[in-house]
Amino acid sequence: MDLIWEGLRKALELLLTLDPEVLRITLLSLKVSGIATLLSVLLGLGIAVLVALNEFPGKRLAIALANTGMGLPPVVVGLFVTVFLWRNGPLGFLGLLYTPAAIILAQAVIATPIIAGLGIAALQHLPPGLRLQILALGATRTQMVWLLLKEARLPLLAAVMAGFGGVISEVGASIMVGGNLKGSTRVLTTATVMETSRGNFDVAFALSFILLVLAFSVNALLTHLQQRSRPR
């Protein structure tokens, strides 16, 4: 127990003294997971719209695949992305392995199915007559999709939060494709693992608290957006 208090004290100390290394790690976590979530929103919502609003053979299979993808283990994603990015691998010419871009890529692969799966459910949950109504009022297809997304914004923002939560907290993929390089690809989760294995439990706890505060701040912001625009 005393370790937890010690960690809390250490977290405050690191934050108040603006420890440059901790600041860099925290900002990198936010940046990497933020960009990855953004990419996943674009991709995942695209997939959700395509799957939810179209009838095609294999639709149920597609939904089942997206739902399975929500549970993709980060280490599995990390392993695949690593092998693809190896310099002798198919994407090796990009030179991305052990860079923040590689982490963004892996995290986007993790978050996209989460946002797609929850997005499909959100859109399918809308009243079936709504689409016809919108189209009957003379809306174009793009306007119709936009209105449907707006109508489902509550569960869709929940999907975005789930996606962000999935990637800011994962460590398996980040450590494999990023390498936990000091000053370059060290993020909060990989630093926590390293400090734990070094026996620096106080620092590990401190980083954990910072991670929790960061996750809370982002989610508080998203929740604010979600609740403010709640349909009355």
């Binding site: 002798n88 390498g179 936990n180 000091k182 370059s184 294995s197 070094r198």
Partner: protein, 279 residues
């Protein structure tokens, strides 16, 4: 702003940049060097101090991938690393013999220690390393193995083999599959025995409540070599960077520094330099 002040300004900037570039080492054409190494070199803090020096001296950027010796050598075998700093002599010789690694040079050593609860339920104190393993097996005391193909794991397997006891699939023999630091934490929690490199143990000692029960046996020597990945086999390897790092590790100043590393923090050195001084 007229033309002449603009010219003078840009000349000053150019001169400043030029002198800044000259004072630093000329930047190498391939700046990134991937170093695959063991967790012990990172967890002990050795690389945290050495890598920035190397980067400053040479202009290379080192990407340190700290994994077990097994994975480090697997990366070398595929040409996915440029240089290795590892401690699994038999596997290293195979790597060099099959042509993936070149220029294997000795850097330093420390030793393995058998650690366990201070009460020593299996009574291994005063025995040789091999006898200690036999005692643990006979007493069926819990032994935690790294089980991750690391250099430490390889050394442990050699000792079991020498002890000639069955250990696989025994209830008292468990594998953590994790690095040394994490394994030691589990060992402390479960009051078990394990084989550890001295560096990591010393670095964590205060938090563990474990004791060194056996040390000093010649069979417990833990030798680190630096190996360059063969650029003839893997054209994408940064051969110049790998050579520069290997040369740095065996250089006189670094060897002298290794000798002192850890004394102020842990009261004794964590590694002992071994490189043959070039004539």
């Amino acid at each position: 702003m007229n033309l002449s002040t603009w010219l003078r300004g840009s000349l000053a900037v150019a001169l400043f940049l030029g002198s800044a570039l000259l004072s630093a080492a000329a930047p190498p054409s391939l700046p990134d060097v991937i170093l695959a190494t063991t967790t012990s070199t990172q967890d002990s803090g050795l690389l945290d101090e050495l890598i920035p020096r190397f980067e400053q001296q040479t202009g290379y950027r080192v990407k340190t991938i700290a994994v077990g010796s097994g994975q480090a050598m697997a990366m070398g075998k595929r040409g996915e690393a440029d240089v290795l700093l590892v401690h699994s002599p038999e596997a290293e010789q195979t790597l060099v013999a099959e042509g993936s690694g070149i220029n294997r040079r000795i850097v330093m050593h420390n030793d393995f220690v058998l650690v366990g609860p201070p009460s020593d339920p299996a009574g291994i104190v005063k025995h040789t390393a091999v006898e200690s393993f036999q005692c643990i097996a006979a007493a069926k005391s819990l032994f935690l193995s790294r089980g991750d193909n690391s250099g430490t794991h390889a050394q442990e397997l050699r000792l079991w083999k020498a002890a000639g006891v069955a250990f696989e699939r025994q209830a008292w023999y468990q594998q953590t599959g994790q690095g040394m630091g994490q394994t030691l934490a589990i060992v402390a929690e479960k009051k078990a025995y394990t084989l550890s490199d001295r560096g990591t143990f010393l670095a964590l000692q205060k938090k563990l409540g474990l004791a060194v029960l056996h040390e000093g046996d010649p069979s417990l020597r833990n030798v680190y070599h630096v190996i360059e990945v063969n650029p003839a086999r893997f054209p994408k390897v940064n051969a110049a960077g790998a050579r520069a790092f290997a040369d740095f590790m065996v250089s006189k100043p670094v060897q002298a520094w290794v000798k002192e590393f850890g004394i102020s923090l842990y009261g004794s050195p964590l590694f002992f330099p071994d490189a043959e001084v070039p004539k």
